[in-house]
């Protein structure tokens, strides 16, 4: 009898423990959210209005992101990590794809780009079929879910210097940056997402998450231009284990790293050709810091 009771308490307490990280996510009511229905967005010369986005949101977004924008739409239960990522909880106001430093709100343009681009390897498709005005309205709608927009301004976008010419020297220098800041701890020495820390990663809500695999042909979630890749590691992907490297990588080194990362990717590129000619070896994870 006693053991049964103990079993129950153990079960209940472990259930409580498991639920803890999820319980920290926000819960706002419809009336909280309704107070911000006047939210606006400014994308280029288009002004978006949250109040105009309701029909589109109900039609295209609510199934996953939910009535309250908390990512608990009726389809969300079918998206289990780490195979699928769960829909974003807009109430938290924390976003992966930003042009702004870690810990700051993204710009309206960032949200607009995310909606337009969609997220590779997730259930979020590209919404470039919606008009510019509709997407701008949806950006305002996304913003109206979180109280953060009422009290904070978006961060200042990071400055990305013009892209230099790719050279074999730059690719080699990029390899040194990759070794120095130890990208391989999660992404692996060949960018195959098999670094020593890859298997234990969790997102901010405690759900398992995998590092980006550069080699399997998939596209980075926050865009696949050279500028996008530069932005990803300099701003970090908030809400995930991917930190910001803005304090540790200089702008010039950052371009070198972009070129080196391209050599891992399945897609054909100038960088890949050059790396082949250089016969570059993967970095040695056991080499002491600073000695590759």
């Amino acid at each position: 009898m006693r053991t049964r009771l103990q079993n129950w308490t153990l079960l209940l307490s472990s259930a409580a423990l498991l639920m803890f990280p999820l319980a920290s996510s926000a819960q706002l009511t419809t009336s909280d959210i309704q107070t911000r229905i006047g939210a606006e967005s400014h994308v280029g010369n288009v002004t978006g209005h949250a109040k105009d986005a309701a029909p589109d949101y109900r039609r295209y977004c609510v199934g996953c992101h939910g009535d309250l924008g908390d990512g608990n739409g009726e389809n969300a239960v079918w998206m289990q990590p780490p195979m699928y990522q769960q829909p974003r909880d807009f109430q938290l106001g924390v976003f992966k794809c930003r042009s702004t430093p870690t810990g700051t709100l993204p710009t309206d343009q960032d949200l607009y780009d995310a909606i337009t681009r969609g997220f590779d390897r997730t259930n979020m498709p590209q919404w470039n079929t919606l008009s510019k005005q509709e997407r701008a309205d949806l950006v305002a709608w996304v913003k109206h879910f979180s109280p953060r927009w009422a009290t904070e301004k978006p961060g200042t976008p990071i400055t990305i210097p013009p892209e230099p010419e790719v050279t074999p020297e730059r690719i080699k220098a990029g390899r040194d940056v990759f070794a120095k800041v130890q990208c391989w701890k999660c992404h692996g020495v060949q960018g195959m997402a098999n670094g020593p820390s890859a298997s234990t990663l969790t997102d901010d809500l405690g759900r398992p998450i995998a590092p980006f695999n550069f080699t399997d042909g998939s596209r980075p979630k926050c865009g696949d231009t050279d500028q996008d890749i530069y932005r990803i590691f300099m701003t970090g992907l908030d809400g995930t284990p991917m930190p910001s490297f803005a304090d540790n990588i200089k702008p010039d080194e950052a371009w070198d790293l972009v070129f080196y990362l391209r050599t891992f990717m399945a897609q054909k590129s100038k960088e890949k050709e050059m790396a082949k000619q250089l016969a570059l070896k993967p970095v040695d994870p056991n080499a002491p810091a600073g000695q590759q």
């Binding site: 920290s24 924390v94 820390s197 234990t200 908030d238 930190p243 304090d247 810091a289």
Partner: protein, 243 residues
């Protein structure tokens, strides 16, 4: 005419004395500030702390080759003194920022030193690294209370300076080394953290009656009422039971 001048002189003298008195009084108050001191103990035997397997990172396992690392959920010193307990004052209504000190949270041998870092709201603190392996410093506040961030600190990275706006108990983690887990405890007003023997002193507490809160990451919180007399030390001892 002369009388009038006298009156003005007397009046200004009175004003001067009053002002002086006010200024002096403040100084008297400052000198009269008391403190709250005490010991936090753990009742009964210290729970077993599991060892940490750091073989995944050769730098970390080498650093602990002779001194194996353990979890730090309960750090119990001689005589049952409980370390890493944060003591603060409930509903502090005094000056906004009570200390100009800059607390430091260091990443050393793949552990957080200290394991628990207490600070005032708005107080600047530093995150530094002493390790020759890359860390990412990733506090996880409730986004509705404070704004989180996630920054890398590869070997030789300069310290990061940060502060928190609101009171909150914020877990901190390194995603690269999943065993690395610590706490930022953001309180309002004066605070103290217990040392290895469980002792603490909250300095610069003006005379008055207060409720002291003691927080331990696993055992929870306890409160106690104390009265601080001018220039004297009030005592508040706590005993926690391991959960």
């Amino acid at each position: 005419m002369r009388n009038r001048y006298n009156l003005a002189a007397v009046l200004s003298l009175v004003v001067l004395i009053c002002c002086g008195g006010l200024i002096l009084n403040q100084k008297v108050n400052a000198a009269g500030e008391g403190k709250i001191t005490g010991t936090v103990k753990l009742d009964g035997e210290a729970p077993h702390m599991k060892g940490i397997d750091m073989t995944k990172d050769p730098f970390c396992s080498k650093a602990h080759a002779t001194d194996p690392a353990h979890l730090e959920t309960y750090v119990v010193g001689a005589g049952g003194g409980l370390a890493n307990v944060v003591l603060s004052i409930d509903g502090w209504s005094g000056s906004a920022l009570t200390s100009t000190a800059v607390p430091v949270f260091d990443q050393k041998n793949c552990m957080y030193t200290p394991h628990v870092l207490a600070m005032d709201t708005g107080q600047t603190f530093k995150v530094s690294t002493s390790d020759q392996t890359a860390h990412n410093i990733h506090p996880l506040p409730n986004p509705m209370v404070n704004v989180g961030w996630n920054q890398s600190q590869p070997p030789g990275a300069p310290p990061i300076e940060k502060s928190w706006k609101n009171t909150e108990i914020i877990p901190v983690q390194c995603n690269i080394h999943p065993w690395m887990h610590g706490w930022f405890v953001v309180v309002k007003g004066p605070y103290a953290t217990t040392d290895g023997n469980g002792s603490y002193t909250i300095e610069n507490v003006p005379p008055g009656s207060y409720t002291v809160t003691a927080w331990q990451e696993a055992a929870g919180t306890q409160t106690q009422k104390v009265t601080v007399a001018a220039g004297a030390a009030a005592t508040a001892n706590f005993t926690f039971k391991a959960k």
